[in-house]
């Protein structure tokens, strides 16, 4: 196992990988995105309720961007073999199915609750 892990490390060295500078850059991105979310929630929406319908899609989009940065760079998935990345990402797509099914179902629950 030891010899194998050595080899893995060696090959990783050939690829572009996480350096200290890059880590802090990603940390800065994550902080900025979180700050934007707070700005929307605390500064923009209270003064402009007409933008409320754009707020939720904006939060979800920003959350997905944050998720991308965490998984791709902090969890290093961007630098792994494509096969490994696909075997993680493709099953995750099934979640979209559950979202579609349950949001559709929840519209019927509204009438059940009355």
């Amino acid at each position: 196992m030891s010899a194998e892990s050595q080899e893995v490390h060696h090959e990783e060295g050939d690829h572009q990988t996480m350096t200290k500078k890059r880590i802090w850059k990603i940390a800065l991105y994550l902080s900025i995105i979180t700050a934007i979310e707070f700005t929307i929630a605390l500064a923009i929406i209270p003064g402009h309720p007409e933008y409320l319908k754009y707020a939720n899609p904006a939060y979800i989009l920003l959350t997905l961007v944050k998720a991308f940065y965490i998984v791709a760079f902090f969890m290093h998935l961007k630098f792994e073999k494509v096969g490994l990345a696909l075997s993680i990402i493709v099953p995750i797509l099934f979640i979209i199915g559950l979202i579609l099914v349950l949001t559709n179902e929840s519209h019927h629950w509204i009438t059940l609750r009355q």
Binding site: Q6, I70, V71, F73, F74, I88, L102, T103
Partner: protein, 241 residues
Amino acid sequence: MSTAVSQIDEIKTTPWSGGRSPFNVEYGKIMMWFFLLSDAFTFSSLLISYGALRFSASVWPAADKVFQSVPFLYDSGKPLVFVGIMTFILILSSVTMVLAVEAGHRNSKKEVITWMILTVLGGFAFLSCQALEWSHLHHEGFWWGSTPSLHALKEFFAEGTGTDVTRHLTAQEFANLFFTITGFHGFHVFTGVVINIIITVNVLLGTYEKRGSYLMVEKVGLYWHFVDLVWVFVFTFFYLV
């Protein structure tokens, strides 16, 4: 006999032709990834159930009215400030973790120890904040199976929405979902902190130095980043949306 090998008998050396790991990743790391995948399904089931219940409710407690205290400083009037602090703590502890992994690649034991200890401290800070958040909500009357009185509930909803019956019903759903989901996440943070402490002790003892690789730090790092990843979603769907 000719030494030339016909094309069909040639040994293939592509990643998928056998004899080696096509993903080029150590076994334990692949298993950590697949465990996290299954955990992602668990958390998304919880969050999607929350979404479905919330979509089907006519009223729902307003996040900026429920979460507006900062422990020891403000009792009310500061929406989202405390959870903002919690979010930054968790992001920062994720950064220190990835710095520990980076130091491990350079086999720098001293740096790994520093960053691992900071990561553990970040984990404890987050858990303390969550304990304060829970006790605050509990004192207001929210818990599994209990809500504040019908009169007190009014202040947690946008003005003039719902009736006593609908407010009580959805406040209960909100409380159950909030404590279950943040509790499940908090349990992950807690186990993450315990695992991080074990790994830190191992680094101190020189276990990985002898092994010649800090791959274990990388594996627990994956788990720790996942905990941060889940919080990003919990934060959005409970506090912002």
